[in-house]
C-alpha cells in the first residue's frame, strides 16, 4: 500500500514537472517567435507539408463522416417526421463540434506524431546540435515554424473537412429525397449563426497550436536511441489527444458564457 502511494506521488510529481516544462516551452515560443530572424521559407514549407499533405486524409474522413452521420440519423428523424431537419442538424453538429474535434484528432495522429518522430530523430542523430553549431537557432528554425504552421493550417483543414462532411450529407439526402444542391446548402447556411461559426473556428487555432506544441516538445527533448524516437511520436499523439479534449471543454464552456447557446 505504501509503495502504491509512493508511486502515485511520483507519477503526480512527474506530471507536474512535465506540465511545467511544456509551459516553459510554450513561453519560449511566445518569447522568440516575434524576434528576427524570421524563417519564412521554412514556415511556408511546413505549411505545405502540414496543410496540403493532410488534405486527402482530412477530406476523406470528413466526407465519410457526413455520409455515415446522415445515414445513421435519417431513420430516427424520419420516425418523428423530422427528416427535413437533417441539413440543419448536420451543419450545426459538424461545424460546432464534430468537424473541429475529429479533424484535430486526425491531425494529432498524422501531424503530431510526424513532428515528434522527425524532431526526435534529428535530436538522436545530432542534427539539431549540428544546426546549433552552425550558428542557427534550431528552436526558431524547427519549432517555431512547425507550431505556427499547425496553428495556421488546422483552421483551414477544419473548414475543408466541414465542407466535405456537409457535401457527403447532401449526397445521401439527394439520393433519398432528390434534394437539390442549392436547397440543401441554403438550409445549411440558414441555420448557422455567428455563434456557431466563430467560436468553433477560434478553437481550431488552439487545437493547431496544441498539436504543434506537443509534437515539437516531445521530439525536441527526445531521449537518446530509437526507443526514444518511438516514445516521442507515441507520447505526442497521446498527450495531444488528451489536451484537445481539455481545450474543447474550455472552449465550449467559454462560448456558453458569451453566447448563451
Amino acid at each position: 500500500m505504501k509503495k502504491y502511494f509512493e508511486n502515485l506521488i511520483e507519477a503526480v510529481q512527474n506530471f507536474l514537472i512535465e506540465l511545467g516544462e511544456i509551459t516553459y516551452f510554450a513561453g519560449r515560443f511566445f518569447k522568440e517567435f516575434l524576434v528576427p530572424p524570421y524563417e519564412l521559407q521554412e514556415l511556408l514549407r511546413q505549411c505545405f507539408y502540414i496543410g496540403y499533405r493532410s488534405l486527402f486524409l482530412v477530406g476523406t474522413t470528413g466526407f465519410i463522416i457526413g455520409l455515415v452521420f446522415t445515414l445513421q440519423s435519417r431513420p430516427t428523424l424520419e420516425e418523428f417526421g423530422a427528416a427535413s431537419w437533417i441539413p440543419s442538424m448536420v451543419s450545426v453538429s459538424i461545424v460546432r463540434e464534430i468537424g473541429p474535434i475529429i479533424t484535430a484528432l486526425i491531425c494529432a495522429g498524422k501531424i503530431g506524431s510526424g513532428i515528434g518522430a522527425e524532431l526526435g530523430s534529428m535530436r538522436v542523430t545530432e542534427q539539431i546540435d549540428a544546426m546549433e553549431v552552425s550558428g542557427t537557432n534550431p528552436f526558431k528554425y524547427l519549432v517555431i515554424t512547425r507550431i505556427l504552421a499547425t496553428t495556421l493550417m488546422l483552421p483551414l483543414l477544419v473548414i475543408f473537412g466541414d465542407f466535405l462532411a456537409i457535401y457527403g450529407s447532401y449526397l445521401v439526402e439527394s439520393m433519398k429525397e432528390n434534394v437539390s444542391f442549392q436547397l440543401y446548402f441554403n438550409q445549411v447556411f440558414s441555420i448557422l449563426k455567428f455563434s456557431d461559426i466563430v467560436p468553433a473556428t477560434i478553437k481550431t487555432f488552439f487545437f493547431g497550436f496544441a498539436i504543434g506544441l506537443i509534437g515539437c516538445y516531445k521530439g525536441y527533448y527526445c531521449k537518446k536511441g530509437t526507443v526514444g524516437v518511438g516514445k516521442a511520436a507515441n507520447a505526442a499523439v497521446v498527450y495531444t489527444s488528451m489536451l484537445l479534449f481539455v481545450i474543447d471543454f474550455i472552449a465550449v464552456f467559454v462560448t456558453n458564457i458569451f453566447y448563451d447557446v
Partner: protein, 250 residues
C-alpha cells in the same frame, strides 16, 4: 610532426573545467591550450568526457566550473548572438556526421552559408562555394545526392565539407574515424591533414584511433578521471612506462 607551439598564440584556453551530470562527475579540473595552427589530439576511455569537453567549447553543453576562452572570449558569458557569431569561426565534425537527412548534399552545405552571408561576403550564387568545399573532400559529383544515398565514409566527408564551408579557423573533430573501415579511415586522416595545410586551421581531435593520433597529432593529451593525466607528443607518450599511458598504445 614538427610544430613549434611556443611561437604561436593560444586560441582556445581551458582552465580547471568542471562538468557533471547529476552526481556523475565527468570533468574535474581539466586544462587545455590549443595554439594557432596546431593539431591537438585528446585521447581517453569511452565515457571519460572527451566529447562533452568539445561540446562545452562550442556551447552545446553548460559547465559547472572553470573557464573556457575561445579567442579570449569566455564562452559562458556570451549571449546567443555572440555565441552564434563565434560558432561561425569554429567547425564541428560530429561522430555520426549529423547530415540533415531531409536535405540534399547541396542544401546541407548551403544551410550554414545562407544563414551567415556576411561571413562569406557574396551570396548571389552559392554553387561555386559549395563546389569548392565538395572538391576539397573529393566529392563534387555527389552534390545532388541525398544523405541516404551516401556511404558512411562519404557522409563523413560531406560533413567535413559542410564544416569547411564557412572557412573556420578552428575545427573540432569528434571521433572522425570511428565506425569506418581502415582504408576509409586513412582517407579521412589524409583529408584532415590536407585541410589543415590548405586552410591553416587549428584542430582538437577526439579519437580512440592510435593510427589517426600518430598521423595527425602535434601534441596529445590523455584524459583520465576527468583530468589531464599526461601530455606530450605522440612519440613521447608512446615511449612512456606508466601502465595507464601504455594501455592506450597497445
Amino acid at each position: 610532426m614538427m610544430y613549434n607551439m611556443e611561437k604561436t598564440e593560444v586560441i582556445i584556453k581551458i582552465e580547471k573545467l568542471h562538468k557533471q551530470f547529476g552526481t556523475n562527475v565527468v570533468l574535474n579540473g581539466f586544462d587545455l591550450e590549443l595554439h594557432k595552427g596546431e593539431n591537438l589530439v585528446v585521447m581517453g576511455k569511452s565515457g571519460s568526457g572527451k566529447s562533452v569537453m568539445i561540446k562545452c567549447i562550442i556551447g552545446l553543453e553548460d559547465y559547472q566550473g572553470g573557464s573556457i576562452k575561445v579567442a579570449d572570449k569566455e564562452i559562458s558569458e556570451l549571449d546567443r548572438k555572440e555565441l552564434d557569431e563565434l560558432r561561425t569561426d569554429i567547425g564541428f565534425l560530429f561522430q555520426g556526421s549529423a547530415l540533415y537527412d531531409s536535405m540534399s548534399v547541396r542544401e546541407n552545405l548551403e544551410f550554414p552559408l545562407r544563414r551567415h552571408p556576411k561571413k562569406i561576403g557574396k551570396l548571389d550564387d552559392t554553387t561555386p562555394l559549395v563546389l569548392e568545399a565538395l572538391e576539397s573532400v573529393g566529392l563534387a559529383h555527389a552534390i545532388d545526392l541525398m544523405p541516404n544515398e551516401l556511404s558512411g565514409g562519404m557522409k563523413r566527408r560531406i560533413a567535413l565539407a559542410r564544416t569547411l564551408i564557412l572557412k573556420p579557423t578552428i575545427i573540432l573533430y569528434d571521433e572522425p574515424t570511428t565506425g569506418l573501415d581502415p582504408i576509409t579511415s586513412k582517407e579521412i586522416i589524409l583529408l584532415m591533414q590536407s585541410i589543415q595545410q590548405k586552410y591553416n586551421t587549428s584542430s582538437i581531435i577526439i579519437t580512440h584511433d592510435v593510427d589517426c593520433a600518430k598521423a595527425i597529432a602535434n601534441r596529445m593529451i590523455l584524459l583520465i578521471d576527468g583530468k589531464n593525466y599526461a601530455e606530450g607528443t605522440f612519440e613521447s607518450l608512446q615511449a612512456a612506462t606508466d601502465p595507464k599511458i601504455k594501455a592506450f598504445f597497445k
